[in-house]
């Protein structure tokens, strides 16, 4: 414990005394906040979105939809879970939900887009049973905010520790530590906790900054959000440690870390949902720590989910923390012979 604390203090000092890195840690979030504020200053959707219940195939479903709803400017999203679909319409993430078999539809009475689609539907000769649902609008910015926080967390976790380890290995710091009684676990734990402190601080700053400028939705518990950030950060730092457990080449480390971050950027629902993606792609996304981090944070922020509601995400992240840290400690080399 004494060794761990000594290394933790040393790493923290090294971080906050590096004025360039420290400044960037605070400037980067400001850039994100500015870009985000600018990008979402006008968030009017350009098309209508209709959720379609019980689809087996999008095209088949489309054929059965009333023709008035099959226009090019109407996007159809299949759902096999009614609760999930209702949650989407409740939060204005889709404008209308259609159940073909039961010939009924749901609209949110606060949604003007939904009302427009209803007018359109009324021109169809067949009769459909109307269900009304009520709920505050979830703007895209509200939906995307957990993704922004998650993305920052991922980059800080993967690159923040990975490059430090490679630098230490390259310049011989690790070799020097190997000659002391410090164990690999003590050293790695100090790096993980030190970086977690940085991550939590920076994510908090981004959160507060974005909240000041954008006023996004946050229904759930803040402490739960911290638990998600902790587990998400821990799992991704551990993942970074696996990737950089042996190399002393910064170029290779950069390649490996980019290779790991791109799938997460694309598949972890940072900017768009994977609702209409093939099942195998959704399956892959569930193997990524960022997916669970972002989905759990989104459920807390948008739906006010409780600990029990997101426990499956937290278990998945905990499992990944253990697996990645175990693999990292097995693969770890102080220096390359």
């Amino acid at each position: 414990m004494k060794n761990f604390l000594a290394l933790l203090v040393a790493r923290n000092k090294e971080y906050y005394r590096d004025k360039g890195a420290l400044a960037w840690s605070f400037i980067f979030p400001i850039f994100i906040i500015m870009a985000f504020t600018f990008a979402f200053s006008d968030n009017q959707p350009t098309i209508f979105k209709i959720g379609v219940l019980q689809p087996t195939d999008v095209n088949t479903t489309a054929d059965k939809l009333p023709k008035v709803l099959q226009a090019d400017y109407i996007q159809q999203l299949p759902f096999d879970d009614l609760d999930k679909a209702l949650s989407r319409i409740k939060h204005h993430q889709i404008d209308l939900l259609f159940d073909i078999q039961k010939k009924q539809y749901w609209i949110n009475k606060r949604s003007s887009a939904g009302q427009a689609l209803e007018v359109l539907l009324s021109t169809d000769s067949r009769q459909y049973h109307k269900q009304v649902i009520e709920g505050k609008e979830i703007r895209y910015v509200d939906w995307a905010m957990p993704g922004v926080l998650g993305m920052n967390l991922m980059f800080s976790a993967l690159f923040g520790v990975g490059f430090v380890i490679v630098r230490y290995r390259k310049n011989g710091v690790l070799k020097r530590l190997q000659a002391t009684p410090v164990t690999a676990l003590e050293f790695l734990a100090a790096q993980v906790i030190s970086r977690l402190c940085v991550i939590i601080t920076v994510v908090t700053i981004i959160y507060i900054g974005c909240d000041l400028f954008i006023d996004f939705l946050m229904i759930g518990n803040y402490w739960l959000l911290y638990v998600i950030a902790f587990l998400g950060g821990f799992s991704m730092i551990s993942f970074g440690l696996v990737l950089t457990s042996r190399t002393e080449s910064e170029e290779l480390a950069g390649g490996l870390l980019n290779f790991a971050s791109f799938p997460m950027l694309l598949l972890s629902e940072l900017w768009f949902a994977l609702d209409s993606a093939p099942n195998w792609l959704i399956g892959i996304s569930q193997l990524l720590p960022l997916t669970h981090t972002v989905q759990a944070a989104r459920e807390v922020m948008i739906n006010g989910a409780t600990l029990a509601d997101i426990s499956h995400h937290l278990w998945a992240l905990t499992f990944m923390c253990i697996i990645f840290l175990f693999i990292a400690s097995m693969l770890f080399r102080w220096y390359r012979e």
């Binding site: 004494k2 060794n3 000594a6 290394l7 203090v9 040393a10 790493r11 000092k13 090294e14 005394r17 590096d18 310049n171 011989g172 710091v173 070799k175 020097r176 190997q178 000659a179 002391t180 009684p181 410090v182 102080w334 220096y335 012979e337």
Partner: protein
């Protein structure tokens, strides 16, 4: 004297390359053992296997008669050939960091005094000079008050004054009864500091013993040195004297007086005459055919 360290049939292979080939030696407690050899001879690999940094391919290393365990790092002080420190930590903070990693330690104030760290104690480790860095690394090697100290080319790159200062510090450490394993390719350093020498080349021990013993056993002559010139070379060839021609002419002589008389009788120009005893460098050239820094 009691052996503190025994190295038995130590080998290290990298794929098909043999870095260390069946090396065995014993280190008595309280001495300074010098490992000499040219670059790539296997000195650092040998020492790093003893330190526990590298795994031997085969062979045994005994510390005080027993195989080393995890506690060896508590009693061994190590100064590597080149090591960076944590960035943005001052010299004093670095000392405190390493101080907290060991169970038994020396006083930081005492180390600052011994290694003369006063002038730059509050500077970042990235802002100190090469000589200051070597003194800090030596202090870190001594921070656990070790019984055995490994110094891997500690004075490489230092100016003569810094090197002399470093030697004084190492002498002090030796006076405290600590055992020192020093790798170097400075002959002067080895002669000044080492009680015993181990000369390594191509991964094997090619000679061992005290500097005096090694020189006596391999040389029964001294050198008479003259400026190199074609005329002198021709005269010596006619005389049948054994010599080598390099930057200067070096005549092997086991009877200086007799050889000088021969040279005078044959009117050889003696204006540049210099007589010297064999050195470890000569020994190494004799044994391997190459210089120590090749």
């Amino acid at each position: 004297m009691k052996a503190i360290l025994e190295v038995q049939e130590l080998c290290k292979y990298y794929d098909k390359t043999i870095a260390v080939n069946n090396i065995s030696f014993t280190v008595s407690e309280g001495i300074c053992l010098g490992l000499l050899g040219p670059n790539g001879a296997g000195k650092t690999t040998t020492v790093e296997m003893i330190e526990g940094i590298k795994e031997p391919s085969s062979g045994d290393i005994l510390y005080r008669g027993e195989k080393r365990d995890k506690t060896f790092s508590q009693v061994a002080g190590i100064q590597f050939q080149s090591t960076a420190m944590f960035s943005f930590l001052t010299v004093k903070e670095t000392l405190k960091l390493f101080h907290s990693l060991y169970a038994h330690t020396s006083s930081i104030e005492q180390l600052i005094e011994t290694c003369d760290l006063h002038d730059f104690i509050d500077k970042y480790t990235t802002k100190i000079s090469g000589g200051q860095k070597q003194r800090l690394l030596l202090a870190l090697a001594l921070i656990n008050n070790p019984d055995i100290v490994f110094l891997d080319e500690p004075t490489t790159g230092l100016d003569p004054q810094s090197r002399r200062h470093f030697w004084q510090v190492i002498k002090q450490i030796k006076q405290q009864g600590k055992t020192i394993l020093l790798t170097t390719h400075y002959m002067e350093e080895a002669e000044y500091l080492c009680d015993q020498l181990l000369i390594i080349d191509k991964g094997q021990v090619i000679a061992e013993g005290s500097p005096e013993h090694l020189l006596k056993s391999h040389f029964n002559y001294n050198y008479i040195c003259l400026d190199a010139s074609l005329k002198t070379q021709t005269q010596l060839e006619e005389l049948g004297v054994k010599f080598v021609m390099g930057d200067q002419i070096e005549i092997y002589s086991n009877n200086i007086e007799f050889t000088l008389q021969q040279l005078i009788q044959h009117n050889i120009n003696l204006n540049s005459l210099r007589v010297r005893s064999p050195t470890l460098e000569d020994l190494f050239i004799k044994l391997t055919g190459s210089t120590l820094r090749d």
